[in-house]
C-alpha cells in the first residue's frame, strides 16, 4: 500500500500499547459483546440468566482491575483507531470515572441476580437481559469516555436500553410512565447535543482534556458561562434536580421493580457524573459563578424530595422522592467545589447507587410478601421475616444518613465543606433533609413492618435469589459505613483529580501539547 511509505507519526500513535491499558475500553466493549450474544439467544429463556450473571460478574472484575490499574498508575488513556488525540476519540479512565463504573457494575450484577426471580418468562422473551447488558455498555462508556461527544453517544445508548427496560411488559400504565420519562430525557439529551455543538464551534475540539486546556487559556474571551449554564440545565434534568425533577416520580413506580431499582441506582448518577465532569473539570471558574444557583437548586431538590417522600403512600413513589433528595445533597457538594464538597458528592453518589437499588429491591420484596405497595394496606412484615426487616431497617438508616452506615460520611463531608465557607443555610438544609427522610422512611417501617397485618395473607417464602443481592448491597453500605478510611482517601484523590486535571491531561497528551 502507498501508505507504508508516508510518515504516519504525525497522525498515528506509534508506540505499542500495553495490554493493561486495554482495561479502559473493555468494560463497554465486553457489555456490547455479551449483550449481542444474549440477543442472539433471546429464545433460549433458561440460558439468559446463566449467561448474563457471569457476564456482569466479569464486568465487575474488569472494573476492579481497572481501578487497581488507575490507583497504581494514575489516569489511563486509549485513543480509538490509533489516531492521536485530540482527533481520535479518547477513552480516559480517572479515579472518579472508575469508581462510578465499578459501583455501577456491582449494582447491575445485584440487579441481574434479583431479576432471576423477579422477571418472568415474558420479560425475558422481551429481552430483559440483553437490554440490561446494553444499558451497562452505555453506563460504563459514559463513565470512562474522555470525549464529550462520545459521552453524548453513550447517553443515547443507555437511554435506548432504558426505553426498552421501562416498557418491559407493555402495560398501559408503563407506557404512560415511559412517555413522560422518554419525553423529558429527549429534551435533556437534545439540549446536551445542542450545547456540545456550540462547544465544538467555540473550541474546535471535543476531547475533554483538550477542552480543559483551551478553556483555561481563553477564559477571558470565550462565552464559557453560556456553555456551563446550558450543561447545568441539561445534566440537571438528567439527574432530576429541582425544578426539572418531575419526570422521576411520574415514571419510576411503573416498571418492573428490578428495572426501577437499576434506574434509581444508575441513571440519575450518570447525570451527576456528567455535571462533575463538565462543571468541576472543564469549567471550574464558571461553576464558581454559578455556585449560588446550584446550591439553591440543591437545597430545593433536597427539601422537595424529602417532603415528597413524606406525602406519598405508594412505597415505590416514596423511594422515587428519596432518590431526588439524595440528588440535592450531591448538587450541594458540587456547588461548593472544594475538595470536601466534591468528594462528598462523589461519595454520596456511590452510596446512593448501592442504597437506592437495594431499597427498591426491598420494596419489591414488600410487594411480594404483603401483596401490595400501598402503605395503607401493607402491614405485618416484621412477623413475616425478621431478617428482611433487619436488612430494610439498615437500608432506611443508610438512606437517611444516620451513622454508622455509608450515607453518614458524605453528608458530614458536604456539611463541613459548607460550614467552611459559612453557608449555614446549606448545612441546615442538609440536616433538615436528613430529619425529614428519617421520618418518611420511619413511617414506612412503622406502617409496613410493625403494624399488624390488616388481613391474613398466605405464607410466602422469600427466594434466596431475591434476598441474596439485597443482603450483599446492605453489607456494602455497612462495611463502607464502619470502615470508610480506604474509600475516603480514594475519593479525596478522585476529587483532587477532578479539580486539578493535570494528571488527566497528561495521560491524554503524554508528550505535552
Amino acid at each position: 500500500m502507498a501508505a507504508s511509505t508516508a510518515d504516519l507519526s504525525a497522525a498515528f500513535l506509534m508506540t505499542p500499547v500495553a495490554t493493561a491499558d486495554w482495561l479502559v475500553v473493555l468494560p463497554p466493549a465486553w457489555c456490547i459483546l455479551a449483550g449481542a450474544v444474549l440477543l442472539m439467544l433471546r429464545k433460549s429463556l433458561h440460558l439468559q440468566a446463566w449467561l448474563a450473571v457471569p457476564a456482569l460478574a466479569i464486568l465487575v472484575v474488569l472494573d476492579g482491575l481497572l481501578l487497581s490499574h488507575v490507583l497504581a498508575n494514575g489516569p489511563v488513556t486509549m485513543v480509538m483507531g490509533r489516531w492521536l488525540p485530540p482527533f481520535g476519540i479518547a477513552f480516559t479512565a480517572d479515579l472518579t470515572g472508575v469508581l462510578f463504573a465499578l459501583a455501577g457494575a456491582v449494582v447491575a450484577l445485584a440487579g441481574a441476580v434479583y431479576a432471576i426471580a423477579d422477571i418472568d418468562g415474558s420479560g425475558r422473551r422481551y429481552g430483559f437481559y440483553p437490554f440490561l447488558l446494553l444499558l451497562m455498555a452505555g453506563v460504563s462508556g459514559a463513565f470512562l469516555t474522555g470525549d464529550i461527544f462520545n459521552l453524548y453517544v453513550w447517553f443515547e445508548v443507555l437511554l435506548i436500553a432504558s426505553f426498552g427496560l421501562i416498557t418491559l411488559g407493555s402495560e398501559p400504565r408503563q407506557i404512560d410512565g415511559a412517555i413522560k420519562y422518554a419525553f423529558l430525557n429527549l429534551i435533556a439529551t437534545t439540549l446536551f447535543l445542542a450545547t456540545t455543538g456550540y462547544l465544538y464551534g467555540i473550541f474546535g475540539t471535543l476531547n475533554m482534556a483538550d477542552i480543559a486546556l483551551k478553556a483555561a487559556a481563553g477564559r477571558d474571551s470565550l462565552p464559557l458561562m453560556t456553555l456551563a449554564t446550558l450543561y447545568l440545565l441539561a445534566f440537571g434534568m438528567k439527574a432530576a434536580a429541582f425544578p426539572v425533577n418531575f419526570w422521576l416520580p411520574a415514571s419510576y413506580h411503573t416498571p418492573r421493580i428490578v428495572v426501577a431499582a437499576l434506574f434509581a441506582g444508575l441513571l440519575t448518577k450518570v447525570g451527576i457524573y456528567a455535571l462533575l465532569r463538565t462543571l468541576i473539570m472543564l469549567f471550574p471558574v464558571e461553576r464558581e459563578e454559578l455556585s449560588f444557583v446550584i446550591a439553591l437548586a440543591g437545597a430545593a431538590t433536597m427539601i422537595v424530595g424529602a417532603l415528597g417522600a413524606l406525602g406519598q403512600s405508594d412505597v415505590r413513589r416514596v423511594l422515587g422522592y428519596v432518590v431526588i433528595s439524595g440528588i440535592g445533597i450531591m448538587l450541594a457538594g458540587l456547588s461548593l467545589g472544594s475538595p470536601g464538597g466534591v468528594g462528598g458528592a462523589i461519595f454520596y453518589a456511590l452510596h446512593s447507587m448501592v442504597v437506592m437499588t437495594a431499597l427498591y429491591m426491598a420494596a419489591g420484596l414488600m410487594g411480594r410478601l404483603a401483596g401490595s405497595f400501598d402503605l395503607n394496606r401493607l402491614g405485618g412484615l416484621y412477623g413475616r421475616s425478621a431478617l428482611f426487616s433487619g436488612l430494610s431497617l439498615v437500608l432506611f438508616f443508610a438512606a437517611s444518613g444516620l451513622p454508622p452506615f455509608s450515607g453518614f460520611w458524605p453528608k458530614v463531608m458536604v456539611a463541613k465543606a459548607a460550614l467552611d465557607i459559612g453557608a449555614w443555610w446549606l448545612v441546615a438544609a442538609v440536616f433538615l433533609t436528613g430529619f425529614l427522610v428519617t421520618i418518611a422512611l420511619g413511617r414506612v417501617f412503622a406502617l409496613a413492618y410493625w403494624r399488624p397485618a390488616p388481613e391474613a395473607l398466605p405464607a410466602t417464602a422469600i427466594p434466596a435469589s431475591l434476598l441474596l443481592p439485597l443482603a450483599a448491597l446492605t453489607a456494602l453500605t455497612v462495611v463502607f459505613g464502619l470502615f470508610p478510611d480506604a474509600l475516603l482517601s480514594t475519593i479525596q484523590a478522585a476529587a483532587q483529580g477532578l479539580s486539578d486535571p493535570s494528571a488527566y491531561i497528561g495521560s491524554v497528551f503524554p508528550g505535552g501539547t
Binding site: 500499547v17 449481542a36 433471546r42 480509538m80 490509533r82 477513552f91
Partner: protein, 139 residues
C-alpha cells in the same frame, strides 16, 4: 398496489437490490457507500418483497430472526475492534491482510469486518421495525 405485475417483478427486484446493497457495502471503504447505506438498501429490498408477498414470506426467506441478525452484526463489529489487542495497537485500529487467492490479491481488513457488522445491524433492526409495522397494518 398488489398487482400481478408487482408480484411477478418483486422477487427479481429484491434479488437485484440485495446484490446492489452488497456492492455498496464493499465499495464503501474508499468510495461513497458502506455498511449503513448498504444495509438500508437491503432493507428496502426486503420491504418490497414483504409488500408483494407478505411478511411471512420475508421471515421465511431471512431464516434467522431479524433481531438475531442485528445482534450478530453487533457481535462481529465489536470483535473487529477487539482484534487489535493482539497487535499492541489501540481498540478499533484498522488491520490489513492481503492474501492471494487464485492469483488475485484480495485486501481484507478489520475495517471491512466492522462495516459488515454495521450492515447486519441495520438490516436486522430496520427489518424488524418494518415487519412490525406491516404486521400492525394487517391486524
Amino acid at each position: 398496489m398488489n398487482t400481478l405485475i408487482f408480484r411477478t417483478v418483486a422477487p427479481f427486484l429484491t434479488a437485484l437490490m440485495v446484490l446492489f446493497s452488497l456492492f455498496v457495502l464493499l465499495r464503501g471503504h474508499n468510495e461513497p457507500g458502506g455498511g449503513f447505506i448498504g444495509g438500508l438498501i437491503a432493507v428496502s429490498a426486503l420491504a418490497i418483497f414483504g409488500i408483494a408477498n407478505g411478511i411471512l414470506a420475508v421471515r421465511r426467506a431471512l431464516w434467522f430472526h431479524p433481531m438475531a441478525i442485528s445482534a450478530f452484526g453487533l457481535f462481529i463489529a465489536c470483535l473487529a475492534g477487539l482484534m487489535s489487542i493482539f497487535f499492541a495497537v489501540p481498540f478499533m485500529t484498522g488491520l490489513w491482510i492481503t492474501p492471494v487467492i487464485l492469483g488475485v490479491e484480495i485486501p481484507l481488513s478489520s475495517v471491512m469486518l466492522f462495516d459488515t457488522g454495521v450492515y447486519l445491524v441495520v438490516v436486522g433492526s430496520i427489518t424488524s421495525i418494518a415487519l412490525a409495522l406491516e404486521a400492525g397494518d394487517d391486524a
